[in-house]
């Protein structure tokens, strides 16, 4: 058994090893020919540019590629084992976002005299992010689940922070995006010298801890019964994994895919013991990044620009995710802790009326009140009503309605997905449809020069439809529909993320516009679009409410439902399909904004909307309210600057979750 399970990983490793040797031979070839290989490696001729270039650029880049790949894969293997979740990766815990945020602040405000502390500062950012994630998740019944949720929240919070910083410091955008896209270009051995000892220390520590990791892999109960101090071990292993990740990211930028895919692939290939998984991950990860970086380097200079390795790696890897993770069990046994009180059914009429009243008051406030830099300005009171006022109200209505409709669409979408996926952490973007829609628009805008909003809407819709067809094709076996949807969405989101990072490094004067659109802004929407999306949302909401009984069944769990004689899988798929359409519609309207799709259904359930029909209505009410508030703040908070509504919604949402987490402790 063990013998056969090791054959595939060994073959994989051997193949990558041979490829890596090939890379080295090709890179060394000019110096191998004239016998200078030894000289360029250790004592290059300081007057010969070719030798200097090789010694201070190519060689450290090769070293960095191997080290970063090895480190990230090991960190990924450790984190996946600790969290027992094949989709976990170093970036899942907010470390990447933490390091990025810290480094962004550093680049924007730190004086040159502090240059020495740059990487330490970045490291601290990653560690603090992990600390926050761990503090939120610690001592909870389902720590594995909460870690991922907390990681997601911290990620969103920090990414929103970084984006706001960047929107107001456009002059350094290009440099930060280059780093953000994972750039392995080297100028000297400084980065290698920084990364090497840290990775060696981190690896040694993680490998030492790898025996207890095998106990952890059996689950909390088993590990506890064997006497291992689960929490301390978790903390230690995660700490070292993050230490490695933060070192790599602060030196080379965001290279996310390796940490996710390499250990996952190895596990699927048959490695189950954590010690084996670690050792194989180190080598496989190193060789993989070395080979990918070699391929990426061949594209440098094409079109007068560079191709960032990190983003390109994700681009290579995203389709691969679908292939390797088809067999993996996703979100094993994830259950919400709220479900313990699911049986309690109470009427929420009072709350619904309150929310509706809030909505009405908020709407009037949104349309008539603004901040104009000096204070509150109330149309028709502090500001006289004039012939412009009606146009101003119309403009505000356009944007406020767009935000509200988007909130409603995502709330319905999120509720459906959380219900049929029986996963309180699922959100609309996991269908991948909003990513596909956004991807189509971004490509049309930047690569093909479409600038007309109407054209872009049609192209975006086409992108969404194509991805729905792909979804259909991938989900032919209905029994696995939710899993395939998740994988599909994950891969599409990864592809979008990679392309966006590449596009942002090379979009010149368009960068800030793209950023605000990607964060979700109502700035560009018009009333016709709002009306169309409102119509679609209303119809689908009515359909969903009409189907509330089977939806209730679906939320109870497949086994029960099937035993009740319900064609649950087809139904699950249909609901996912509805959710995907809603997500795409919302994306067309305001861009790929989705935190509301996670938050509104969650809030509604916490507030006590338990039954499917009420849950739908409750989350719509909450989603609409939240987006209305976010929209007003986005327009007025930093007047005259117009912030992306999505950023504010994300800040509101993450703050809420943080408060909730702190209070629950």
């Amino acid at each position: 058994m063990i013998k056969t399970s090791h054959r595939t990983p060994t073959l994989l490793l051997a193949a990558l090893g041979v490829l890596s040797i090939g890379v080295l031979v090709i890179d060394f070839w000019p110096f191998l020919q004239n016998g200078l290989a030894g000289q360029v490696m250790f004592t290059p001729d300081e007057t010969d540019f070719d030798q200097i270039l090789f010694h201070y650029s190519t060689l450290p880049r090769l070293a960095m590629a191997f080290l970063c790949g090895a480190g990230l894969a090991l960190a990924g293997a450790a984190i996946q084992t600790v969290l027992r979740n094949p989709l976990a990766s170093p970036t899942t815990l907010g470390v990447g976002a933490g390091v990025e945020f810290a480094l962004t602040i550093f680049v924007l405000v730190a004086p040159a005299s502090l240059a020495l502390f740059q990487e330490a500062f970045a490291l601290a950012g990653g560690m603090i992010a992990l600390g926050a994630v761990y503090l939120i998740a610690a001592k909870r019944g389902n720590a594995t689940l909460w870690l991922i949720l907390a990681g997601m929240i911290i990620n969103l919070l920090l990414q929103s922070g970084t984006q706001i910083l960047l929107l107001f410091n456009e002059q350094y955008l290009q440099s930060i995006f280059m780093w953000g896209a994972g750039d392995l270009a080297q100028n000297g051995w400084e980065a290698t010298q920084f990364v090497l000892p840290r990775i060696v220390i981190g690896m040694a520590a993680v490998l030492l801890l790898s025996r207890p990791l095998d106990l952890l892999a059996l689950g909390d109960d088993t590990a506890s019964s064997l006497g291992a101090k689960v929490t301390v071990l978790r903390l230690l292993i995660l700490g070292f994994a993050v230490f490695i990740t933060a070192s790599v990211i602060s030196a080379a930028g965001m290279i996310g895919f390796i940490g996710l895919a390499v250990p996952a692939a190895l596990r699927i290939a048959g490695l189950t013991r954590s010690r084996d998984l670690m050792i194989y991950s180190v080598l496989t990860g190193g060789f993989t990044l070395l080979v990918i970086d070699f391929i990426v380097r061949q594209f440098n200079g094409l079109g007068g620009d560079i191709l960032p390795t990190g983003a390109a790696t994700a681009l290579f890897g995203a389709p691969f995710i679908i292939l390797i993770l088809r067999k993996a069990k996703i979100m094993p046994g994830s259950q919400s802790e709220d479900q313990h009180s699911d049986q309690e059914i109470t009427s929420k009429t009072g709350l619904s009326i309150l929310l509706t009243a809030l909505l009405a008051i908020g709407l009037v406030f949104s349309l008539f009140v603004s901040l104009d830099g000096t204070g509150f300005a109330v149309l028709g009171w502090t500001v006289n009503w004039n012939d412009n006022s009606f146009d101003i109200i119309t403009g505000r209505a356009e944007r406020t309605f767009a935000a509200m409709i988007c909130g409603a669409a995502l709330a319905v979408s999120g509720t459906l997905i959380q219900r049929v996926g029986r996963n309180p952490l699922a959100s609309p973007e996991i269908t991948g449809v909003s990513s596909a829609t956004a991807l189509a628009i971004i490509l049309a805008l930047t690569m093909f020069g479409f600038a007309q909003r109407a054209d872009l809407m049609i192209i975006g819709a086409a992108g969404g439809i194509i991805s729905l067809i792909v979804l259909l094709a991938l989900c032919r076996k209905f029994t696995h529909a939710p899993h395939y949807m998740l994988l599909n969405g994950l891969a599409l989101t990864a592809i979008l993320g990679a392309i966006v990072r590449i596009v942002l490094t090379r979009s010149g004067t368009q960068t800030s516009m793209l950023m605000s659109w990607l964060a979700g802004t109502t700035y560009f929407t018009n009333m016709d679009e709002v009306m169309i999306v409102a119509g679609v949302t209303t119809v689908l909401l009515i359909v969903a409410i009409a189907l509330r009984r089977p939806l209730e069944m679906a939320s109870l769990g497949t086994d029960q439902s099937v035993s009740l004689g319900l064609g649950i899988t087809t139904f699950q798929f249909a609901m996912m399909f509805l959710a995907a359409i809603l997500a795409a519609a919302a994306t067309l309207l305001v861009g790929p904004l989705s935190f509301v799709g996670l938050m509104a259904p969650h809030l509604a359930r916490v507030a006590g909307y338990r039954l499917a029909g009420g849950h739908l209505l409750g989350s719509v009410l909450i989603g609409v309210n939240v987006m209305m508030v976010a929209e007003w703040l986005a327009r007025n908070l930093l007047y005259p600057a117009q912030l992306p509504t999505g950023l504010i919604a994300a800040l509101i949402g993450t703050s809420y979750f943080l408060l909730l987490a702190v209070r629950k402790r």
Partner: protein
Amino acid sequence: MMKLRIFLCCFGLIAIALSFAKTNAKADPISIEHERGILTLPAPAKRVATISWAFTETVITLGLDPVAIADAKDYVDWVSKPDLPSDFIDLGQRSSPNLEALRAAKPDLIITIPDIGMAYGKLVEIAPVLELKLFDEKRPAFETARETLAKVAKATGREAQAETYLKHVDQKLVEYGERIHAVIGPDQKVNVVYFFDESNVGIYGKTSMPGSVLTAMNVPLAYRGEVNKWGFARGEFDIIAPFAKETLVYTNPVPEVVLKKIWNSPMWNVMDFVRNKRVYELPVVWAYGGVPSALRFAELLTESLENGPHQ
């Protein structure tokens, strides 16, 4: 064939009649070609809103104060001259100019960029919109800037000022070119680069603003290779290595942290321009600006070269 001729005749007659009708109108309407076809204004614009620095500086240079300006705060840092008017409405960021503030400014012309083309429909509801490209990859940036100046002048009825100004610019560019030649000598070529970080550098090509202004000054640009959509090439330090014998000018702003790392790196120090002391620092200047920015680039470049190498 006959039919076609008759048709053409009729068409011609109609055209003549139309143009006659036009000249009989009170004030001559102005037609300007822009990204959305032809913009027709009933009269020269007086209250102009500018969404990009290039338009802001161009309008001010033509002697008209814009009533509403986007990205005004950063203008002071990046463009700095000409001075902003004492009174105007701040529109916030150019990626999403505040529409309520814009409406309150009551402009009779909005000059904007295709980058926010998605908002065109909203802008057009407020006032006539002139949408102009700041940079067209197929043409030298300086040429595009001159054309922008001409179009803005036409829209604001300041064609005479524009003509005088362009003559002044041409004279100045020739003068600066001669002064630069006096510093660098007859054989030296110049490269203008931008440090993205300690390992990546951008080098401006001949269509970029720095490149096309150098051409207008008759100063030879060393880099002739492939460029990206924005007129520069980007890569690691090996892309500037072939020009190590020439003169190198780096633009700002670059974080101090990054500069320090570059000055200490062997790859930088092996380059001939470092050893020959042919590296110059250029103060902050906007590379996607209008004619005033182009002139400022030329002036700052000349002063920088005359003041001597950076270290």
